[in-house]
Subunit: 202 residues, 2 copies
């Protein structure tokens, strides 16, 4: 039986365990690395090994950052009266990358998902309410959870609690509608319904 | 500006450099690893670091193996009179996995590609001719390069040289035709032409 060298096979196995990487892709990646210099290989190896170094969570916004509190929460140029609530750190990064949002973030760390046993106590909801009450005066909280079943449920839950606990804060939800470059013909019913509901006078 | 921790960003950058992995996939992989135990992370890191350990090439078949000569070339149960010529180590592995080939392999290490400056001198063609001439009597050489333009050119080149240098050896080419589960309607012209040419009486 023709066999690959064990070190190569081991890396193929390791790559195969990553999400979205099947055995063929894992083989391709491993062979690609084999042809690379030792410097490139060491660089990847140490990046993996050092991954968790200096990774911490901001005690204010719960984003994944290097220093606590994070630079965004400390930045005096940002609008601390405007909080954008997102599910995960990558969502905050995506919104920040647009360059059009000058407020701060609040990372929930997930969404309500009763099937997976994730209830309000598993998310950073209490600290959001603390911030809403705040010493810093919060004008508006934008709920930017994903437009999925769980994201919508979480948004409704947050709205309910915030209305009770901090009634003076405006709570808004990001618009749902057709994405840029989207096609009416191929849009699903819910997206179309939301797009119609969210129409604006021009 | 919201920024990811540098160690996380570094791994995302490293992953992005791998073939077929874009920035979004790299982010997903890095965040997946972040949620993993340190044991899993160390395991991947060391697999990358140790990749080139014990990887060598068989001096007979030029396959990528752990010992030289490789186990396939030393195996007395295999048919050493039958050589299957492939482009890369993974091709040999794929053929061997079928379990229906009991001969030996010869890994060319690529295909002729004038545009990329790869000529016959860059491939393990000389040693194939040595093997064809003997001392072990070779009955048949199966050329199993890919059915691509370069693969076909390489096959033609090998046929020409082998006919000159070792005229008694039968040179064959793997069949080209419709793959199992393939659909006539969607097959391209060349595949259909080859399938017609390669028809067999049943």
């Amino acid at each position: 039986m023709t066999k690959l060298p064990s070190s190569l096979q081991k890396l193929i196995n390791e790559f195969s365990r990553l999400p979205g990487i099947g055995p063929k892709t894992a083989q391709r990646l491993a062979f690609y690395l084999l042809k690379k210099d030792n410097i490139d290989i060491d660089s990847l190896s140490s990046a993996v090994a050092n991954l968790k170094q200096n990774v911490t969570f901001c005690s204010i916004c719960h984003n994944m950052v290097e220093t606590d509190p994070c630079q965004t929460c400390l930045d005096p140029k940002r609008d601390h009266g405007l909080i954008c609530v997102v599910e995960e750190p990558l969502d905050a990064l995506a919104i920040d990358k647009t360059g059009n949002f000058q407020g701060t973030f609040h990372v929930l760390g997930g969404v309500l998902n009763p099937l997976e046993g994730i209830g309000p106590e598993h998310l950073k909801i209490d600290s959001l309410i603390e911030r809403a009450k705040g010493p810093v005066e919060v004008r508006e909280i934008i709920i930017a959870t994903n437009p999925s079943l769980e994201g919508e449920t979480t948004a409704m839950h947050l709205l309910k609690i915030l209305k009770q606990e901090a009634p003076r804060v405006v709570v808004s939800r990001i618009a749902r509608g057709l994405p840029m470059g989207g096609d009416l013909e191929y849009a699903d019913d819910i997206t179309l319904t939301r797009a119609m509901e969210g129409r604006r006078e021009i």
